[in-house]
Amino acid sequence: QKRAIHSFTPRPVSRSHIARTASDPRQAPVPDGDAQGPLQRPGPRRRLRQPPQGLPRYAHSPLSPPRASAVWRGAARSSDLSGFFSVCLSGWGTNEALIISILGHRDAAQRRAIRKHYADTYGEELLRSITDEISGDFERAVILWTLDPAERDAVLANETAKKWHPGNPVLVEIACARGSKQLFAARQAYHDRFKRSLEEDVAAHVTGDFRKLLVPLVSSHRYEGPEVNTRLAHSEAKLLHEKIEHKAYGDDEVIRILTTRSKAQLLATFNNYNDTFGHPITKDLKADPKDEFLKTLRAVIRCFTCPDRYFEKVARLAIAGNGTDENSLTRVITTRAEVDLKLIKEAYQKRNSVPLEKAVAGDTSGDYESMLLALLGKE
């Protein structure tokens, strides 16, 4: 069943904490020359078929190649935003298909340009206008998709920290399935948006061994280079094996290795573990299927070694069985759409013998389904 959106927008009075950007939108009056009243503006479908004079035709196709040129920006202003004008202010209902076709087929730079132009021209946040018109899982998918990757991570992290429970994987995904720079950009976006630091909120809401693991994990700024010390990899693999044997899963050394070593070094350590002991380290961490801490450790390791298979599993578990975990499905698709969604789709096909699009179509419906399919088909 569809989940209420309330968990995502805890303050129903103002939705500004989702929709606003770091800089205040300038209060630009609607330019009189451009504006025609909603009744006079041609309908969106006609707009799409007839490109305005003087603009190259490619700018109109939903699959237009991403180009941050002035020509495209002109197109964004005139065609896309006029689309929004009629969508959001027409009072004749919202054209969800237009929202999907415009936003769903743009990359991060284009979406940012659209938001900026919208705010400059109409004096209101695009996301706020959208949230006033649509709701439910579709709204959540559109919002998460339209935000910048850094803001998206910050919003997801804030939501997770506030209602954290053991076994919640979102913080692990943000910390491990992103590069150092993206994680850091997320932390900065968190500062701007929530006026606190990410590690502050995580430390305040997470307890016990999880806190010992998650706080250093989100504060890490790992070395990004390829340099690896093989002797160190071997000694740390042995150390990890020893700690796991003694079931000291929350040991300081284990946490130190997982939260500070660079990605290349960790991969070398895990490979070394496999070579030395004959099986991957995740196998040894399956001692107790109910232990959430072990699940978290496994998630950390898998996000480093095989992020596409990790997210495939998240998607699979979200779709399988009765009902759908829309939040997880939305999270996987919107956060990985510009990263490695293609690999995730391939992994899904391999594991389930069914394309991910088909599974999503079978399990979701309406505008939410169209949005997810648009993002899945973006490649």
């Binding site: 502050e200 706080v215 504060s219 939260t259």
Partner: protein, 291 residues
Amino acid sequence: MVAALANWRRQPEKRSGFRKSFPGLFKQHGVIERCEDEYMLHLAAEFSRFKNLMVLWAMHPWERDARLAHHVLHQAHPAAIVVEVACTRSAEELLGARKAYMALFHHSLEEDVAYRAKDKPYCSLLVGLVSAYRYEGPKVSDDTAKAEAKALGAAVKSAGGGKLVENEEVVRILTTRSKPHLVQTFKYYKELHGKYIEEDLGSEEALREAVQCLATPERYFSQVMAAALREGADHHGKEALARVAVTRSDVDMDGIRAAYQEQFGAKLEDAVAGSAHGHFKDALVSLIVGK
């Protein structure tokens, strides 16, 4: 000196006169005046101190902090310097230092800190301090500050002089909260418990330094300078003179001078002038006093 090189050309007697009139460096040894080894070492030390000071001053602050941290970590110096760098720099500067450290040494700073401080009790505190990216704005939640002051008080009581530095709550508060928030928290601590928190943290060096660096950096630095200028200060203590002068001269040197005046009743530049010599002294004093 350089002018003498030209003027005294082909006049060995002038040089000999120079040697005779410089009894510190030269001692009569039979027919010739011979250099004193000790004084040569002393000269080398003075010149190298000056050279180090100038190089340190000229570097980009991020690289400077990265090299300082690396030097400390790989020479087993006391952890105080890492605490100082982590706590007294702004969030952006600390991030820049971490990036510079990665570029220079191909490891992340927290990696090396965690590895070197592996078995020490202050390991988690140090790693947390170094990886912090604190919120820089002035917004402080009074309720949270009060609650955390209570929590700190409870932790101090329950530790009873034991391993307060390993207490998770204390480490969490010190390594994640923003600096204005911590100042407020310590104020509430004084109101609630009647004592300053530094006094209650008596024996735990790392914790006390962290608290001082976060809340009152100027007093901390003036104490470091005083320790360096005292008689019998060791090598690390003396290095502190150059380090503090260079790293803080752009930032809050005036505050440090005021704090020194308040604490020790003398002017910092006079104390430094009394203790150092030559160009090193001039460089230090100009860094401290400025224009």
